[in-house]
């Protein structure tokens, strides 16, 4: 196994691991927590807080009937999207995910106003109101959705990786999916082709422990999901998805491997969603105490706040940040409530690109 490179800091706590290989094949190096600058810590904190406050507001707007249909909140999982995407090269790498997609878009710095306006189905929404919560895209940011069919984004993401390799543009595709999607057949079809053709892709399992209401243990014969690539020779990593620095550190180890042309990596991010699967989830499959325990002991934002406090950031600073974020979210909600709905003629636009 490759050794972790020497770091200036003291021997870091190991918060991510690669499995002990069943053979002597080369593996990605052991990840180490990211050594963030104070400015980076603050940036992560702002982004994670923005996701949390945005999602809380989306939950409120849903309750008021302003957001319809399905709405899957990312609360609890913020460190995953922020940690991983901060490691990507925004100019050439691409990202794709499933329907729990608000957080990934915010982590890319996409304007919260156009995301919230999409949730309320307004013309100013990023999909002009025609996609909704589950179907949002930003080709400009190389964010390819926003897909509503569980597991589809894994094959599609493999195609994005294929395109990177075909063009030789040096880009890496990152395909997020959940513990539920990890049981879909097409995920394994994609694993096979990705490793066979050494495609530049990071498969990210956001293991939030529940596929709707079915826990991983009740749905998965192999519940250590980072091992799901082994029979395809895809190296796996299990990462503490509640620790943004662990996530970022693991992403760097994975990216090194993939950018070196060694093929895909499978990352399992252990995380937890505080809210229901969607807004209509009665949450009978787990206790309040279980959720509260995670919130109290493992919350990603509180964890980062503690690191920053230890580094000397005062409470006033956090209050200022919180105020700023609340203002941004309030503005996005006002915008999303007041922006007009799409014109009726938009019903017929964008079905096809060309005229026949």
């Amino acid at each position: 196994m490759a050794k972790a490179p020497a770091r200036a800091s003291a021997a870091p706590k190991k918060t991510a691991s690669t499995p002990t290989p069943a053979n002597n094949r080369e593996q990605p190096r052991d990840p180490v927590p990211y050594d963030a600058t104070p400015a980076e810590l603050e940036k992560f904190y702002r982004e994670m807080l923005l996701i949390r406050r945005f999602e809380e507001k989306a939950g409120q707007l849903y309750g008021l009937g302003l957001i319809g249909g399905f709405c899957h909140l990312y609360i609890g999982q913020e460190a995953v999207a922020v940690g991983l995407q901060s490691a990507l090269d925004g100019d050439k790498d691409s990202v794709i995910t499933g329907y729990r997609d608000h957080g990934h878009m915010l982590a890319y710095g996409i304007d919260p106003k156009v995301i919230m306006a999409e949730l309320t189905g307004r013309a100013a929404g990023i999909s002009r109101g025609k996609g909704g919560s589950m179907h949002m895209f930003s080709v400009e940011h190389k964010f390819y959705g926003g897909h509503g069919i569980v597991g589809a984004q894994v094959s599609l993401g493999t195609g994005l990786a294929f395109a990177h390799k075909y063009r030789g543009d040096g880009g890496v595709a990152m395909s997020y999916f959940g513990d539920g999607a990890s049981n879909q057949g097409q995920v394994y079809e994609s694993f096979n082709m990705a490793e066979l053709w050494k495609l530049p892709i990071i498969f990210v399992i956001e293991n939030n422990q529940y596929a709707m209401g079915t826990s991983v243990n009740r749905s998965s014969a192999e519940d250590q999901l980072y091992r799901r690539g082994e029979s395809f020779r895809i190296p796996g990593m299990q990462v503490d998805g509640m620790d943004v620095l662990a996530v970022r550190g693991a992403a760097e180890a994975a990216l090194e491997w993939v950018r070196a042309g060694k093929g895909p990596v499978l990352m399992e991010l252990k995380t937890y969603r505080y809210r229901g699967h969607s807004m209509s989830d009665p949450a009978k499959y787990r206790s309040r105490e279980e959720v509260q325990a995670v919130r109290d002991k493992s919350d990603a934002i509180e964890h980062l706040k503690k690191l920053m406090t230890d580094a000397g950031i005062g409470e006033d600073k956090f209050k200022d940040i919180d105020k700023e974020i609340r203002a941004i979210v309030a503005e996005s909600a006002d915008f999303a409530e007041s922006a007009p709905e799409p014109e009726l003629h938009e019903l017929y636009t964008d079905v096809l690109v060309e005229q026949y």
Partner: protein
């Protein structure tokens, strides 16, 4: 008694072939498994193996002979202890009747109901999209499709071909023959047998800026992948408010093939044609196959391109133009007429044309329309013809329920009701899974006589 070696049928549709090379000579001793000869079909060169042991008696068909019918005796083998030389040469024909043969009611060779789908009919008038005086070359549909892909791949590096057996095997039906040699393994890619996965991969590659041509060995297997065709490819542009395009072609053979049973014999045209966001094309002849496949590869929209295995080996005139591209969404009048409009697509067009010829002999002048594109449907051409003939018959090699025929009947109701002198009639396959038995297969599939009868019935209504 000498054993007769007969020209083998090496595919369900093979009727004749070329005896390319003998690998044995008269007097050679052979045993089971020895390769006796190489035989070329329209798809490939195949090795012909001995099944019996013995000595090659006589070689009756010289190597290099073309158009040797399946069943023709090509050589004899004598068993051990038999004299090879004096065996009288059997007549070298497939159907040599034996006077003393016991009368047998059962069919001697494996016939297929699909034989009734294969007619020699061609368009009676030129395609107005092709400039007058254009020189023509004779190409099979298979070659036309291959040329279309090759031309587009030469013109645009973003175009690649992916599917099962498209590269080293040269295509399960030889449609991609030669592409690997010209374009290499980067652009002609053999996949594992994993339709859902590679359809999704192709769709993602299209979203990422490439122009994939995804071959399904047949569209029956695309059922595994239909989620990506419908949910991922067709809806993306709309769901993204026009931001994210998906220029991809899903292509392969569709519809009934010979004696392959229910799971390998289905027409998916109505399925895909019902989906907003898709373009669906189903050409009949080689010129349309080429011109429309090129258009399909170029368009910004996702295309389902439905070919037909039974047509792959058929030859047609194809315009000898450097860039023969046809417009998507335009039907073509294949035969002008004034008494009745017969509309079809894909292999059904041949049946319609053949029926029109027969009807002409009985004084009924049928106009035949090839839809070519099923979505968007060129209803204007159909309705203009209906206005002229006042009678509409739809011919479709596929099930009747919720078919393209059903759709056209509704189009006529909504927009051509006052032009109808009789109810719209459809001639479709029987509403059953396609059976294997030859007689049942024949009964299940459309044929020319059913079209003729339907037209006469419609004419008699008014």
């Amino acid at each position: 008694m000498a054993i007769e070696l007969k020209m083998p049928a090496l595919s369900p549709t093979m009727e004749e072939g070329t005896l390319a090379k003998w690998l044995v000579k008269e007097g050679d001793t052979v045993k089971s498994g020895d390769i006796l000869a190489e035989i070329e079909t329209d798809k490939a060169t195949m090795e012909f193996e001995a099944i019996d042991e013995g000595t090659i008696g006589q070689i009756l068909i010289a190597e290099g002979t073309d158009n040797v019918k399946v069943g023709t005796v090509i050589a004899t083998i004598t068993g051990e202890g038999e004299d090879a030389a004096p065996t009288p040469a059997p007549a070298p024909t497939a159907e040599a009747p034996k006077a003393d043969a016991p009368k047998d009611e059962a069919p001697r060779k494996a016939e297929s109901g699909t034989e009734q789908l294969i007619v020699k009919a061609k368009a009676a008038v030129a395609d107005p999209a092709i400039p007058e005086g254009t020189a023509m070359v004779r190409l099979t549909v298979r070659e036309a499709l291959r040329d279309a892909m090759a031309e587009e791949m030469r013109a645009d590096d973003r175009v690649f071909v992916m599917g099962e057996e498209v590269a080293e095997y040269q295509g399960a039906y030889k449609v991609t023959q030669g592409l690997l040699d010209e374009f290499g393994a980067r652009r002609v890619i053999d996949t594992p047998i994993t339709e859902y996965g590679f359809a999704g991969l192709g769709t993602g590659a299209a979203m990422g800026g490439l122009r994939p041509v995804i071959e399904f060995m047949t569209f029956n297997f695309a059922m595994q992948a239909i989620d990506h065709i419908v949910n991922s490819a067709a809806k993306t542009n709309y769901m993204s408010g026009g931001q994210m395009r998906c220029p991809i072609v899903f292509r392969g053979p569709n519809g009934a093939a010979s004696r392959v049973g229910a799971q390998h014999s289905q027409n998916y045209a109505p399925w895909y044609a019902s989906v907003p966001g898709l373009i669906v094309i189903a050409p009949y002849d080689a010129a349309d196959a080429k011109g429309l496949l090129k258009a399909a590869i170029r368009t910004e929209d996702p295309v389902v391109f439905l070919e037909n295995e039974l047509l792959y080996g058929r030859s047609f005139d194809v315009p000898d133009l450097p860039d023969h591209v046809l417009p998507i969404g335009q039907a073509r009048i294949m035969r002008p007429g004034k008494d009745v409009t017969v509309v079809s697509y894909s292999i059904g067009v041949g049946l319609a044309l053949e029926a029109a010829e027969q009807l002409a002999g009985e004084g009924i002048d049928a106009e035949v329309i090839d839809l070519r594109t099923l979505r968007p449907l060129d209803t204007a051409t159909v309705l203009a013809s209906l206005k002229k003939t006042n009678h509409l018959v739809v011919v479709e090699e596929g099930w009747p329920t919720c078919s393209i025929a059903s759709e056209l009947a509704m189009v006529a109701m909504e927009h051509g009701f006052d032009d109808l002198d009789a109810p719209v009639t459809r001639v479709c396959n029987e509403d059953v899974p396609l059976p294997y038995a030859a007689n049942l297969e024949k009964a299940a599939l459309v044929d020319v006589q059913r079209v003729v009868a339907a037209v006469k019935a419609v004419r008699n209504r008014g």
